[in-house]
Every structure is written in structure tokens, then in C-alpha cells.
């Protein structure tokens, strides 16, 4: 469980994380979504106490990370930036981490087998491919059998088989009752693994919602209508709160009116319809729209502030 409350971080004059409040619950995979540079990695560094927040607070399993007697049992983390000495073997890297908590060598072997690094465990980590490095990072994260697992862009650099493996692993970890917090800048990836989504842009919270809810909200009321009498229909339905866009003859895109109302209006006026389709935007599109709105909102706010 991760609880962030008004979490804020400035680097110099740049605000990287801006008043984030959210909760990552056990038993589900919570996706942490935002464009590159939106503050995801910074938020994770704040969770681990690697960076100190400028304002606000974040706790894991009820305490500040630093105050846990056995932090690796509480949170297992994979950070986006590599966190391995390039001159040390994968085995010795994990061993050194395990020893801080008095974990046995057997545990290191278990994790190396789990992530499939058995054949290269004695090789220096500097010679690892990006994918092997990610697997080593995941092994380090799971070393302490943690209640909360936090992974920053875990599928980066993995081959398709590795990506599948991570997806299964995340779901399995959540099914075991752990809190799983996983970041990505790819909505499509999150759609496949996450149950819950926390979306941020420019360090601010944009959405804290389920995947289905997000798509539904983002789709709004857009209906595609095909009719030989498109012009006539348009005149009948355009009103306050309803707008119509026509990209081709006989084709209307209606915003702000549900499909059943459009059908009733058409019937009432004897207008022939060839197609009446409520549009569902893709998650990708929903994400793009949301983050774009966020940027525009920010710009608008600045202008207003200047004018005042």
C-alpha cells in the first residue's frame, strides 16, 4: 500500500511533482501513466526516500520508507535508471543486497532462477543487454518478498516473450495480495495489465480511475451518423450543447447527443439512417486527449495569471 498526500517536489525552479494525492491498494495492479517527463520516476524516488519531498508526504505500508526496519520486505522497487554496479556479477549484486537483510544465498539463487538469468548470473552486469538488466532489476525488487512492488517502466527493452512474462508476473503478484504499482508511458501496455490507473501530466494528477471508467469518460458522447439526408438531420439536431462535424458528404460526427436520441429525432422527421454508431475512443486516444488538455489548461492558467 502506498499513500501519497499532496506530494510535491521541486528541482531548482522546476516543479517535477505537483501536489499528488493517491493511494495504491493491495491486491490490484495500479498503472501509473503519464508522458515521458511527467514526474513518474520522481514520484517513485520520493516513495523510496531517495529524494526528499519539497512538500507533502508519502507512506508505504503505513510508514515512511526510511522508518521501516526491513525495507526490502516492504517495498521491492525497479527504478528506470540502472541501479547496478557494472563491474559486479548479477549474483554478487543480489547477494550484497540480500545480506543487508540477512537473507540466505538460497534466496539469491531462487530469484536468479525466477527471472531466468541462471546462465549469465556470474557475468558482470556491465555486459548485460537492456533486457537482461531489466530482469536483474526485477530480481532485486522481488528479493525481499515485498508487500508492495513498484516497477518503473518494467517492459522497457524486453523482447515480446519477456513482456508477456512481466504481464503475468504483475498479475500473479497482485493476485497474491500485494500492492503492485507499475509505470508506463504507453497506455496500450497498461490496458493489458492494470486494473486501476493513476494518470499524471506535468507532475499533476489527471485521473485516478478504473480502466473502463477512463475510456467511458474520455469517449464522451460521440456518435457517427451516415445518412443520405445528412444536411436535413444536421439542422434538426444542432442546438445548445450539441455540435456536429461533417468530414465527408453524408457523414456526421455528433457530439453531445446520445445515439438513441439521434435515432428518435431522425424517425420523427422521417430521415433515413444508414449508420448510427456510438464511438469509443481507444485508450491511447483517451490518454492523448487527457494529457493534451492538461497542457492547454496549464498554458491558459499562466496567461490568466499574467493578465491579473
Amino acid at each position: 500500500m502506498i499513500e501519497a498526500n499532496g506530494l510535491t517536489k521541486d528541482y531548482g525552479s522546476k516543479r517535477a511533482v505537483d501536489g499528488l494525492t493517491f493511494t495504491v491498494r493491495p491486491g490490484v495492479v495500479t498503472g501509473f501513466l503519464g508522458p515521458n517527463g511527467s514526474g513518474k520516476s520522481t514520484t517513485m524516488r520520493l516513495v523510496l526516500g531517495l529524494d526528499a519531498p519539497t512538500a507533502g508526504d508519502v507512506r508505504v505500508n503505513g510508514k515512511h520508507y526510511r522508518d521501516h526496519a526491513a525495507p526490502l520486505h516492504e517495498v521491492g522497487a525497479l527504478l528506470e535508471a540502472r541501479s547496478v554496479h557494472t563491474g559486479r556479477s548479477a549474483y554478487n549484486h543480489l547477494l550484497a543486497l540480500a545480506q543487508t537483510h540477512g537473507l540466505p544465498r538460497r534466496r539469491v539463487d531462487e530469484l536468479i532462477d525466477l527471472v531466468g538469468l541462471h546462465d549469465v548470473a556470474r557475468k558482470r552486469a556491465g555486459q548485460f543487454s537492456l533486457g537482461m538488466g531489466q530482469r536483474l532489476g526485477i530480481a532485486a525488487a522481488l528479493l525481499g518478498d515485498p508487500h508492495t512492488v513498484m516497477l518503473d517502466e518494467p517492459v522497457n527493452g524486453l523482447d515480446p516473450e519477456g513482456i508477456q512474462w512481466v504481464r503475468h508476473l504483475l498479475k500473479e503478484l497482485a493476485a497474491e495480495g500485494r500492492a503492485v504499482f507499475v509505470s508506463s508511458h504507453l497506455m496500450s501496455e497498461m490496458a493489458l495489465t492494470a486494473d486501476h490507473l493513476i494518470v499524471i501530466g506535468r507532475g499533476r494528477l489527471i485521473a485516478d480511475t478504473s480502466v473502463e471508467e477512463l475510456v467511458r469518460t474520455a469517449s464522451g458522447n460521440v456518435v457517427l451518423v451516415r445518412s443520405p439526408q445528412a444536411e436535413a438531420l444536421r439542422d434538426r439536431i444542432v442546438s445548445d450543447g450539441v455540435s456536429v462535424v461533417s468530414n465527408a458528404p453524408g457523414l456526421l460526427e455528433v457530439h453531445g447527443l446520445p445515439a438513441d436520441r439521434i435515432g428518435e429525432i431522425a424517425a420523427a422527421h422521417g430521415i433515413v439512417l444508414h449508420e448510427l454508431t456510438p464511438q469509443q475512443v481507444s485508450l491511447e486516444q483517451a490518454f492523448m486527449d487527457m494529457t493534451r488538455d492538461q497542457l492547454e489548461f496549464r498554458t491558459g492558467e499562466l496567461v490568466t495569471a499574467d493578465a491579473a
Binding site: R45, L48, G49, L50, D51, A52, Y65, R66, H68, A69, A70, P71, L72, H73, A77, L79, A81, R82, S83, V84, H85, T86, G87, R88, S89, N92, H93, L95, A96, L97, Q99, T100, H101, G102, L103, P104, R107, E110, L114, A140, L142, G144, D145, W165, H168, L169, E172, L173, E176
Partner: protein, 276 residues
């Protein structure tokens, strides 16, 4: 493994530990011992500490006949025996820096501080492990250098000196103590600067650049300041003779330990305060 066939499952951990200072020391020992660069640096330090005195002894012995009485009078057997310390201090100093800056440059520091988020146990463990390792390697090395160079110089009675001679044992042990303390000092420097090149530059400035520069100052100033610099204080730990303008071994050691403690204290404060 638990879980159904076909699923990936994390093996549960039967024993759950907690972070203790002793465990962090063990971890730091593993870190130090499992890097090829560390093993090489320490090997080179031992090699220089032993090899250089043997070389000097051999050269002195073979040229003894052609040396002037003045030259002969200037040769001191302990200077020859501890000549290697002057060079191996470079290897130990650089390694002390690398013990911590190597973690910053590779990103390992993030993993280290995630495992030990209270941070200070890691610094204490690094200092203890590196200090003990250096001392355990260097103590035999300086004695081997002493006995080895004495054996080579055995034909020259004037260059023979006994361990029981006042101050001799203390001076030889002092060579190993100096290297151990220097390692702690540069480890602290590395923690403060966090960058390998920068920390080595500061180390070189303090120990090799600033001391000769002071010769530009008026002699009275130079004499008043020089003995109290880290370099001179440390050197007095492994010098048999002490001039009127240098500290005695006891006060030199105390001052050098003080410098190390100060550097380590600053390192501890910045390690706690800064974002990793």
C-alpha cells in the same frame, strides 16, 4: 513454488530479516571483494609497498661504494623500508574515493540506499570494511618491506636497524596506520564530492599540490602552517625523526585522525541531507 502450473510465482521467503549494522558490514565486504578493480588496486598497493623498498635497497647497496660520505649519511634504513608507502598511498587514496563514487557513477547507490534507507549504516560499513581491509593487507606489507630491505642491506652495518630500536616498530606500524586512515579520508571525500574525477582532484590537491605551494610563503608562515596540513600530520605518523617544525608521532596521529573524523562527519551530514 506455489501457484498453478504455467503461472509464475515468487517463492515465499521463510525467514524475514531486518537491517542491522553487522549485516550492512557483510554486504559492504561483499561489494568490496567482488569488484575486479578493487582487487587490482589493493594488489598494486601491496606490490608497491613491498617492491619499491626492495628496489631502493638493491640500488643503494650496489652504489654504496661510489657514494660520497654526505650521501651515505643521508640514507636512513627506515626511509628505504617505508618508501613504498609514498607511492601506494596513491592507490589506496584513489580506491577510497572509488568505493563510493563508483556507486554514484553506475547508479548502484540507488540500490544501496533502497536496501539501507537510513543511509548512515552504509557509510560506517564502507569506512570500517575498507579501513580493516587496508590495514590487514598493509601491516604485513610494511614488515615484509622492512625485513626484505634490511636483508638486502645486510652488508652495510650503518644501514642496519633493529625493531627494538626506539620508535622503529611504531614507525613501521605507522605506515600501515597512515594508509588505513588515508583510505577513510578519501572515502569521505568521495562521499562529499560524489564524482570520481572531482574527488581524486581534491585528494591530489590536498596531499600533493598544496603542500609544496606553501614554500612560496614566508618561511615563518610556512613553518607555522605546514605541520598542521593533513599531508604533514599523516606523514609524521610514519616518520622516525621529527624536526623542530613537524609534529611528533602522537600529535600528528591525533591531528590526522581528527581530519578523518571531520571529513567523515561532513560526509555523513551531506549523505543524509542530499537527494541520492
Amino acid at each position: 513454488m506455489t501457484g498453478e502450473a504455467g503461472t509464475i510465482s515468487l517463492p515465499t521467503l521463510t525467514t524475514r530479516g531486518r537491517v542491522t549494522q553487522a549485516r550492512v558490514v557483510r554486504s559492504e565486504w561483499t561489494k568490496l571483494a567482488t569488484l575486479r578493480s578493487t582487487r587490482w588496486s589493493l594488489f598494486v598497493a601491496v606490490l608497491l609497498t613491498i617492491g619499491l623498498p626492495l628496489l631502493f635497497a638493491a640500488v643503494t647497496s650496489s652504489h654504496w661504494g661510489s657514494m660520497s660520505p654526505q650521501e651515505r649519511a643521508n640514507r636512513h634504513p627506515l626511509d628505504i623500508a617505508l618508501a613504498g608507502v609514498n607511492l601506494s598511498q596513491l592507490a589506496i587514496g584513489v580506491l577510497g574515493v572509488l568505493v563510493i563514487t563508483g556507486e554514484y557513477s553506475t547508479g548502484m547507490i540507488r540500490a544501496s540506499l533502497t536496501a539501507v534507507p537510513k543511509r548512515l549504516p552504509m557509510l560506517w560499513a564502507k569506512a570500517a570494511v575498507f579501513a580493516v581491509t587496508t590495514f590487514v593487507l598493509m601491516l604485513p606489507a610494511v614488515f615484509i618491506a622492512f625485513f626484505g630491505s634490511q636483508a638486502i642491506l645486510s652488508h652495510h652495518d650503518i644501514l642496519q636497524i633493529s625493531l627494538s630500536h626506539p620508535g622503529v616498530t611504531r614507525t613501521i606500524v605507522g605506515g600501515a596506520v597512515y594508509l588505513m586512515l588515508l583510505g577513510i579520508f578519501t572515502l569521505a571525500l568521495g562521499t562529499i564530492v560524489r564524482n570520481t574525477a572531482g574527488a581524486i582532484a581534491v585528494f591530489a590537491a590536498i596531499f600533493f599540490v598544496i603542500p609544496p605551494l606553501l614554500n612560496i610563503l614566508p618561511t615563518s608562515w610556512n613553518n607555522a602552517i605546514s605541520p598542521y596540513l593533513p599531508d604533514a600530520a599523516g606523514r609524521s605518523v610514519f616518520s622516525l625523526t621529527h624536526g623542530s617544525h613537524s609534529l611528533g608521532p602522537g600529535s600528528g596521529l591525533a591531528l590526522f585522525v581528527g581530519y578523518c573524523a571531520l571529513a567523515l562527519a561532513i560526509a555523513a551530514v551531506v549523505l543524509l541531507r542530499r537527494d541520492a
